[in-house]
Symmetry: C2
Subunit: 224 residues, 2 copies
């Protein structure tokens, strides 16, 4: 095979991989992670399932790569949002509240990221090889480190606890997302019984409260 | 039907329901929630699947009832543990740390409760009727209220935020549980790459940190 042919083949491979990722991303805009099947994905991308599996080892491997991309995109957008939303001259308690508000608001329009974050440990990290698991974990560690550095820049009072706070925040995003997406039965129950309606969680409001509490708690414990 | 016959039939129903619950509980000691199938459960309890479904409307309805029972058992055990583990004469920051440590330690041996809590919103509240969803939610609200009252008794500094803290703690339990149960692939990745080992979470340690941070943050924000 000449170099030209190999390059073209490499390029074709990259195009196919991108088509698979883009198609999966489009499906995630329509349906939750749990409903994205390899069968439907193959049909939409116009490849045999066996052919899709020559580009990615499993459905979960595709979703982990999408999660990393969505996470990186979010990390890239955050500095400008935090800079605009956190008043550097404000006292620490005020900055902590503002930081939590910016992070929660920045996730309001990122359903796919939130859905994938909520599924990462329990679903996506299963049915992949050691290599894919390790590559994803390294990427996740880097994403957490980027957010921790940003948090520390605006809240130096976090001291050495910024990475731990960030990891807790990511777990909180997944948990609040899951709890703020009630099942159809629970939605009907909320509607039928006004005494239960108070327990129907709004994603951004609940997340903002939990992130503000985690941030304030980290600072309080750091200064204790 | 005479009253005697009706009573005996009611009693038999209760015995059957209890057998189904006990068998499911035993299965959960052996396998994660996701692997508990109605087929295997029916086989073990010695009833046809259609017969099991005359006692509970779905697999999820059985699991929700088990979750409520495990949760109530935990709530019943907590007061003595908190009383023994939290020093009433200590300053608030110390009591907050002790409270988090007691709660985290009390969950160390309660795998079934943790597993069911982690599955409640995303899995268990699906595939049930409005009635079962509402009954479960009312029970969960009561369980949260009991823990909130206990928290407030030992940490009056929580003020009106004890229920919100408790709800956040329950979400944290489910999230940390899921993240502290790595997939086989991720376990291999941790073993193969020492730089990743630091990200392998220990359930009780990680939970204790997150609960302590939530508690300290709630108190800090309450007093702000």
């Amino acid at each position: 095979m000449t170099n030209f042919q190999r390059a073209r083949s490499e390029e074709q491979r990259a195009v196919r991989r991108q088509a698979i990722l883009d198609t999966t991303a489009a499906m995630l805009e329509e349906m939750p992670v749990g409903e994205v099947s390899l069968n439907e994905l193959s049909r939409r991308v116009g490849l045999a399932k066996s052919n899709v599996l020559r580009y990615f080892e499993s459905r979960e491997a595709i979703l982990l790569e999408l999660l990393d991309r969505a996470w990186q995109q979010w990390v890239a957008d955050l500095p400008a949002l935090v800079h605009a939303g956190v008043d550097q001259g404000a006292p620490v308690s005020r900055r902590a509240e503002q930081f939590a508000a910016v992070i929660a608001a920045s996730l309001a329009g990122r359903q796919v990221l939130c859905d994938l974050l909520s599924a990462q440990a329990g679903v996506l990290e299963h049915n992949v090889s050691l290599q894919v698991a390790a590559r994803y974990k390294r990427a996740a560690v880097a994403n957490v480190a980027d957010i921790a550095a940003l948090a520390h820049q605006h809240l130096p009072e976090l001291g050495a606890s910024a990475p731990q706070l960030t990891a807790a925040m990511i777990m909180a995003v997944g948990a609040v997302w899951t709890h703020a997406r009630p099942s159809p039965a629970m939605l009907s129950a909320y509607e039928a019984d006004p005494s239960l309606t108070a327990f129907k969680l709004d994603f951004v409001t609940t997340l903002q409260e939990m992130l503000a509490t985690l941030t304030a708690g980290t600072i309080a414990r750091e200064s204790a």
